[in-house]
Symmetry: C2
Subunit: 386 residues, 2 copies
């Protein structure tokens, strides 16, 4: 790969986050085509990209609503002209709720989620005091993954009724995230996870309707289940975020091919430890993130898979085996020695990340490149924080 | 801990990074006292704090030089009046080196490190073309941890001579970082790592001097070895950064007590999964980082140890057992059920981090609090990126 070393006048300082816009577009088209074929609409989750430039492209052909994971995202996308937002983390009382009220008063169509009567009560009181009506989805737990009202729990109708009976709240429906799909180990398991996510959500919606409660919205999604679903019958919208970039965890799940991963970190070889078979680079965990999502998958990819600067597979099977804050250690996957001199000091390499959300979050902008190049054609800012 | 729940008018939106300024001051005094007693001076590493407010305090009573891990840090601290900086990551050719030249021309006293003749050659050429002289330390590998010229390698004199003979470079000496100290499991092992770091660095300096080469600077350091060193004879400066905040990894090493950890993440309980013995919070890995540094220590602390909002030990032995992007799952360390209703929705809790550098990096400011309080008295910005 030494031919991909760039001359000294190359403009990027390493480490730098690259976004292959051609791979991005292909990923967006794959998801939107799949959903269109199954008659579903998409509410993209912006937590991965946190960039209006990316999300505007993801919204092409969709109704226009998004999913946010923080109120900082809600602020940023609202300032960029997006009004319809689902805040997909259970709301806390206090200043976050005050912030929600402020956003709604300024014109945001912000929907909240909750899974307990305590939250229904304090949101209702704050909304009432503010003289507004807040749309609510009930969060469902379809796979024991984290939050949400369990399938078959009597809490579902009780909380739904509390929401419905509060004048300052509007019961819109149910939502869930099949996070356990990340632990699937086969296409069959992914299809089953997708079916379970859909069927349990539809069943909860039916329970509400049977109790005389409104449930116009049935919102589900995760990148694996969205792409492996064979039906969206009964579902009003699908949420997903990672699909825009994909990553090694998704590749390990069989959700994408490695070649479809759109983001990577450009690093530079700064030294060798030849006897140990190591390349030392300036891309450490600060640039790659500490995420080791593939560690529990059949193929552990270390801190990332090494590609040439232009994105081609390296001739040696190299991964980042270890990372300090600003140093990466690249070695052969098997531990076998290789000729480190094939990667002289100054060689630029691209690292494909375990987890797109975590790696992108370590950077404040995307260096947008075309397929097969690492020369940026544009810079897209991204946000972080709360 | 429900008495530590704050009223709804509490100003912070969770998750929020807290910095206990009283704990910070105690940590700074501990290190400076220890070094003064052993006759050493400190060149604080700013990679953990990345804040001029923190580093100004760390420099009290010290010569004034700092260590940086990125050129972004160099820019920021230079703009804030600090000129003497050691960039402690091996330099890459290209735009980073151009950036170094620019900083030096603007008045920064920036020292570079390198461990190979290729780097000596390209730095010399660029410095010569720019008409400047760049100070250089040779990086030593004292423990097989990552970069650096190995102890006893003939490369040491060869690279030193290449640097010394280049008119545009100034050979200043040697430096190392005993990163393997993080794997020590006893005070005795830490003392031995500190002695090894010092003795091997002093030996390398002696080798240079015996060859007629200058070596005024012998720079060593890591928080564990700095605090466990029993002598700094022959050492001109000590570098450390994590000591300012400390963290669970340092506590696990026996380098600090848990009560000395100065940073934490304030989170809010947003729900329960009572049958599983879980509290769901709004502090996920985005706020805590993906760092699991204690996973390989005798006591695995999960994604962090739970304290009351005011910093007191919780009456249950709770840790963050799992984290999604914006959700944390808190459970009893043993997996035992506990009365989740003792932590109602809205309860604020403090999470002590595995690794201060990684957790602080997820935030763009410190909410500065006094001991025993989570009401910020000041806000200190911090930087990130490259």
């Amino acid at each position: 790969v030494s031919t991909s070393t760039h001359p000294n006048d190359f403009a990027l300082e390493t480490p730098a986050l690259l976004l292959d816009v051609d791979a991005l577009h292909a990923n967006l088209i794959r998801m939107s085509t799949h959903l269109r074929q199954l008659g579903a609409t998409l509410r993209p989750h912006v937590k991965t990209a946190k960039s209006v430039d990316v999300v505007r492209r993801a919204l092409e052909g969709q109704p226009g609503g998004i999913t946010v994971s923080t109120l900082k995202e809600a602020e940023y996308f609202f300032e960029n002209g997006i009004r319809d937002m689902l805040y997909a983390v259970g709301i806390a009382p206090g200043s976050k709720l005050t912030h929600v009220v402020d956003l709604i008063r300024r014109g945001a169509e912000l929907t909240l989620i909750l899974d307990n009567a305590v939250a229904a009560d304090f949101v209702a009181k704050v909304a009432k005091a503010a003289g507004i009506r807040i749309p609510i989805l009930l969060e469902l737990d379809v796979d024991g993954h984290r939050a949400g009202i369990g399938v078959g729990s009597p809490d579902l109708i009780a909380v739904a009724r509390a929401v419905h009976e509060a004048d300052s709240l509007e019961l819109r429906g149910v939502m869930t995230h099949a996070g356990a799909s990340y632990e699937c180990r086969s296409a069959q398991a992914l299809r089953a996870a997708a079916a379970q996510e859909r069927l349990r959500s539809v069943a909860a919606a039916e329970q509400l309707r049977a109790a005389g409660l409104p449930c116009p919205v049935v919102s589900i999604g995760s990148t694996p289940t969205a792409l492996f679903a064979e039906s969206f019958a009964g579902i009003s919208e699908v949420r997903a975020g990672v699909y825009m970039f994909q990553d090694l965890v998704m590749a390990g799940l069989g959700v994408c091919r490695i070649e479809e991963i759109a983001i990577s970190v450009l690093v530079c070889v700064i030294g060798h430890q030849a006897e140990r078979g190591w390349l030392i680079t300036d891309g450490g965990w600060m640039a790659l993130s500490r995420d080791r999502g593939t560690a529990t998958q059949p193929l552990d990819q270390g801190y990332g898979v090494v590609r040439s600067a232009a994105g081609a597979a390296a001739s040696d099977d190299l991964i980042v085996v270890s990372a300090n804050q600003e140093h990466g250690i690249i070695a052969h996957r098997s531990g076998a020695r290789f000729d480190v001199e094939r990667y002289p000091v100054g060689t630029l390499l691209r690292i494909l990340p375990n987890h797109a959300c975590a790696t992108a979050a370590q950077h404040d902008h995307y260096n947008v490149v075309r397929a097969g190049s690492c020369r940026p054609v544009e810079t897209w800012p991204r946000i972080s924080g709360w």
